[in-house]
């Protein structure tokens, strides 16, 4: 995930300092990017298993949620908007890095990270105010499992963002070398898209 730096002079190198040879020319862009795509495929299936549980339990009951649990649609809607906005700032940061605009890169990443952390904070707040806990029944079970799984992914994404932010400040990214940023961005967009789906299915429908 490391950026390809110019330290080696003319010889192109990959993240590990290997000389990039004919091997890597066979397809696609970069092994790291492709690896992240595959990993996200695997993540989609992990969310898939929990959504399977959610739908299975939901549709095996005629009335849902059982026990009349209420979840806040509006305030979580605002939280959703924050997360969606963070995807745009992430993209801005990436575009800035590609154009060599250091300020846009740092501000963009900083905003993305801040919004990610805000999302997490508000989610914790929501957990606190809900008035029910995972062991209260099937709906709380699936609700907490899905939002919690997503929350963990936001946490991982925020960690990646923090690393990227740190490296951006140290000036590790350049218009030719920002693979780490690109991969982090990809993961962040994934986390965002999963949330949009989750919010629609669990909160709205």
């Amino acid at each position: 995930m490391t950026s390809i730096a110019a330290a080696s002079g003319a010889t192109p190198r990959d993240e590990g300092g290997h000389v990039v040879s004919a091997y890597h020319e066979s397809l696609m862009r970069s092994p790291v990017f492709l690896g992240m795509v595959m990993f996200i495929g695997s993540e989609i299936m992990l969310f898939g298993s929990f959504f399977t549980a959610y739908f299975y339990i939901r549709f095996s009951h005629s009335q849902y949620p059982l026990g009349g649990f209420e979840i806040p649609k509006a305030s979580t809607g605002i939280n959703t908007a924050i997360l969606v906005a963070s995807s745009f700032t992430m993209h801005w940061a990436l575009v800035s890095a590609k154009r060599g605009k250091r300020l846009g890169l740092i501000v963009g990443l900083g905003l993305t990270l801040a919004m990610g952390l805000t999302f997490l904070g508000l989610q914790m707040r929501e957990y606190h105010d809900l008035g029910f806990v995972p062991s209260d029944g099937a709906f709380p079970t699936t609700f907490f499992a899905l939002t919690g799984l997503h929350g963990m992914h936001v946490l991982v994404g925020a960690t990646l963002l923090a690393i990227a932010f740190n490296r951006a400040i140290r000036g590790h990214y350049s218009p030719d070398a920002h693979l780490g940023l690109e991969v982090t961005g990809l993961y962040w967009h994934f986390v965002d898209v999963v949330w949009i789906f989750l919010y629609t299915v669990v909160y709205l429908l």
């Binding site: 000389v19 993540e43 062991s135 029944g137």
Partner: protein, 816 residues
């Protein structure tokens, strides 16, 4: 293994160092650097601290902090998870990434300090060399195979007679649960990963996997996973079977928590490896290695890895849910709270049926290799085998509910699942028939690998057919949860997977260790395994049809005779493993040195030395054809070269280009009618005796001369610079060519691979010279003569070979 290549290593260094000096690795104290000592203290430190924090939080939230079943489970969960993470941190998997994480380095010069094994100790450290990791995988998984086998012998000991004698029913449940868990998650799946780790990058012509450090992490996750499974015996083993069905798993003892956590680590290891394989196969293929030129083992791993990436998250999900149900008292599988029991089986089998193909497809790949190579024939239906592999992978996701015909699931699912299940017999049948057609009229070499491949076809057809029986709903309802199922799964996983693993280990043993195994002991191992395998599991079909239930410590006395026989045979089957162990260990240490290509295979892993050099290939090989073109005239899979000429040399010496005809300037017709002499020489290449010998041959009629110079390692030097060797060789070659041309002889030449024998035989096959001149130093100083090069070429090339002795020491040859 790589000790023999020590000299070459430093030669390779410059290609990777790129002019930078080697990075000084400061040796920190053993407590602080990546080591077993650090692994032990960090793992327990992590586990204890995190469990302590969890206790503190519980205390703050008003729960019982440390006492009570609930607290135990929670603290245990956190403790185990972070113990395992701490282990991988401590052993050193994250050292490089840590620098990235804190941004301390922009891009760290890779010094390859963790790449390749220089002594046996390196196998016990974090290593990024796919070949080392492959062997680490195979050895570790084989240890788990032995432990899992011992557990199975425990099961058979209990079942030898009716009643419960040796173990309590509870322990019995633990025995078969741990047996299956170890065999599946820590033997079959990772040992295929190990074989593929060693072989796939070589087959692709790559220097390593795409993500070597991730590869190391995948391996080091396995050990904690296995230890967690085994540690459960200390607190009462997990006893809900490897399937860990809810609601039993929700309620049973604390051992089940060990299971759910161990599976997560084994699964994470699988997924990381699979992503690594996929990226490697997509991006690391050598030039010319199109998808349709990949060996079938690579195809098999492509399909398997896709299954792992898409399927394994589902078992992770299912075990997360069981764990939540256990420690957070959620209600996924608890009907009283609105959950659903059948849901568990859906999620579990959505992974675990594809898992059956994860455990079988790599084996199919191995069998395709072994059968084609050891019967000396192009594989029959290459594309269909590749397609059927993918088809099995896709269909594998559509059959999961055939495990659930009696579970009370939605009845409408039954018929579609029965149909898709039976459909899978079609691509599987395509493979079986392709293998049989490959054998047909082949020159079958009954090596141990081939015996296991043939034995596999026999046993797997039986296992496959009983699978078709089980797909039929009425039959399944009758034999569900009986020994018929036990017989089926063992015919598939032992008669299928384990046989293929043995075939693979025997087949690639010379490549991995550089030594040959004992063929006689290998055959003995095969026959013992084959006979006692069938004797053990065949009678289980009858037991199952008569209604003997599986997973019960006791049984009806009317089954006593067969069970006694089965137990005896199971012990003998277990004993047959000792033959294998002895053979492997003894041959690894003392076996005869293996040639580079003992099976005369075409795929790339056999075109490098045994064991392969530390970075596999000096240059990306150029792939020019399919990997199984045995006996096809003129067919070639790949051209493997040592270092390309340095740019300065390539410009100065056009005669060294690898296209002899192009530089002769003669017409094609003339070329073929001319006598063609192949001259093989290295240090003696410009010697007078050699030039005279060629001149005398050329006298009277037009000849075409090709000079090849295998550049060998200079003796008596510790450090070899490949560039220097290549330059010196080329200079000598050019001097020779000049002298020959001055004498009016059309001559071309090239610097070729290290091994003179391979180089000569390659040239003989591809260029068909009419005679060969081999020039060497005098008997006392010639490495080639020590290796009997002249006699071997004379024997194998079947054209006249003349041997010229040049005493370079007396009169320095060449301009260099």
């Amino acid at each position: 293994m790589a000790v023999a290549h020590g000299a070459e290593l430093s030669g390779h260094g410059h290609a990777h160092g790129g002019g930078h000096g080697p990075v000084q690795v400061q040796q920190r104290s053993i407590w602080l650097r990546g080591s077993w000592v650090r692994a032990i203290w960090v793992s327990f430190f992590f586990g204890t601290v995190v469990a302590g924090i969890a206790a503190l939080i519980r205390n703050r939230l008003g729960f019982e902090a440390v006492s009570g079943q609930s607290a135990h489970e929670v603290l245990l969960t956190f403790g185990l998870v972070f113990w395992a993470i701490g282990f991988t941190v401590g052993i050193g998997c994250f050292d490089y990434w840590w620098g990235y994480l804190i941004g301390s380095h922009k891009w760290e010069q890779e010094d390859h300090s963790a790449h390749g094994a220089y002594s046996w100790r390196d196998y016990f450290k974090v290593n990024t060399d796919h070949k080392v990791i492959g062997i680490q995988y195979l050895v570790l998984t084989f240890i788990f195979f032995l432990i899992g086998g011992a557990l199975a012998e425990g099961v058979r000991a209990e079942l030898a007679t009716p009643g419960t004698q040796i173990v309590s029913p509870g322990t019995y449940n633990g025995l078969f649960s741990a047996h299956a868990t170890l065999m599946i998650f820590l033997f079959i799946i990772p040992s295929f990963a190990g074989l593929a780790n060693f072989v796939v990058p070589l087959m692709l012509g790559a220097q390593d996997m795409a993500f070597p450090r991730l590869n190391a992490l995948s391996f080091w996750l396995l050990l904690p996973a296995g230890l967690i499974f085994l540690a459960s015996f200390a607190v009462g083993p997990f006893d809900a079977g490897w399937t860990n069905y809810a609601p039993l798993s929700d309620k049973t003892g604390v051992g089940d928590t060990f299971f759910t956590i161990g599976v997560q680590f084994a699964g994470a290891s699988s997924i990381a490896t699979a992503v690594n394989f996929l990226v490697t196969i997509v991006t690391m293929r050598a030039p010319g290695m199109s998808f349709w030129r990949m060996p079938l083992l690579v195809w098999a791993n492509l399909a398997t890895s896709s299954l792992v990436v898409l399927g394994t998250p589902f078992i992770a999900g299912s075990q997360f849910m069981v764990l939540y149900d256990r420690i957070m008292h959620t209600h996924f599988f608890d009907p009283a709270g609105g959950g659903n029991v059948v849901l568990y089986q859906h999620i579990f089998w959505f992974y675990s049926h594809p898992a059956v193909y994860i455990m079988m497809l790599p084996g199919f790949g191995i069998i395709s290799e072994v059968i084609a190579i050891h019967s000396r024939k192009p594989i029959f239906g290459y594309r269909l085998i590749a397609f059927s592999t993918v088809a099995i992978g896709v269909l594998g996701f559509t059959v999961w509910a055939h495990h659930m015909f009696v579970s009370g699931m939605a009845p409408w699912l039954r018929i579609p699942m029965m149909a898709t299940t039976m459909l899978i017999a079609v691509p599987t049948g395509i493979k079986i028939f392709s293998w049989v057609a490959t054998l047909w009229d082949g020159v079958i070499h009954l090596t141990t690998a081939m015996l296991f491949a043939l034995g596999f076809i026999f046993t797997f057809v039986i296992g496959g057919l009983s699978g078709v029986f089980l797909a039929v709903i009425p039959v399944d309802i009758n034999v569900s949860d009986t020994y018929f199922v036990v017989a089926h799964i063992h015919y598939v996983l032992f008669g299928g997977s384990v046989f293929t693993i043995y075939a693979g280990i025997y087949h690639w043993f010379p490549k991995m260790t550089g030594r040959m195994y004992d063929e006689r002991l290998g055959r003995l191992h095969f026959w013992l395994t084959f006979i006692f395998f069938n004797a053990t599991f065949m009678p289980m079909h009858w037991l199952g049809l008569q209604g003997m239930p599986r997973r019960v410590a006791d049984y009806d006395p009317r089954f006593a005779t067969l069970n006694f026989i089965i137990s005896i045979c199971a012990f003998l089957l277990g004993a047959s493993t000792l033959v294998f162990l002895y053979n492997i260990i003894h041959s690894w240490a003392r076996g005869p040195i293996a040639p580079a290509n003992p099976w005369r295979a075409l795929s790339l892993e056999w075109q490098v030395s045994s064991p392969p050099p530390i970075f596999n290939f000096d240059e990306p090989p150029q792939v020019v054809g399919g990997p199984y073109e045995f006996g096809v005239p003129g067919a070639r899979h790949a051209i493997v070269t040592v270092h390309e000429p340095e740019p300065a040399f390539a410009g100065a010496a056009p005669a060294t280009l690898k296209a002899p005809e192009a530089t002769t300037g003669a017409s094609q017709g003339l070329l073929t009618s001319m006598r063609h002499i192949l001259v093989v020489a290295n240090q003696t290449v410009a010697g007078d005796e050699l030039i005279d010998a060629v001149r005398s041959k050329a006298a009277g009629e037009p000849v075409r001369v090709t000079v090849i110079c295998p550049q060998n390692d200079p003796s008596g030097e510790w450090v070899v610079d490949d560039r220097e060797v290549a330059q010196a060789t080329r200079a000598r070659l050019d001097a020779t060519l000049d002298r020959l041309r001055a004498a009016g002889i059309e001559a071309t030449g090239q610097v070729v691979d290290r091994d003179p024998y391979t180089a000569v035989m390659d040239e003989v096959e591809s260029d068909r010279p009419s005679e060969i001149i081999i020039s060497t130093l005098p008997q006392t100083r010639s490495g080639w003569l020590r290796r009997d090069l002249v006699e071997r070429v004379r024997h194998d090339a079947k054209i006249p070979v003349e041997h010229v002795v040049v005493d370079v020491g007396a009169k320095p040859a060449g301009g260099a």
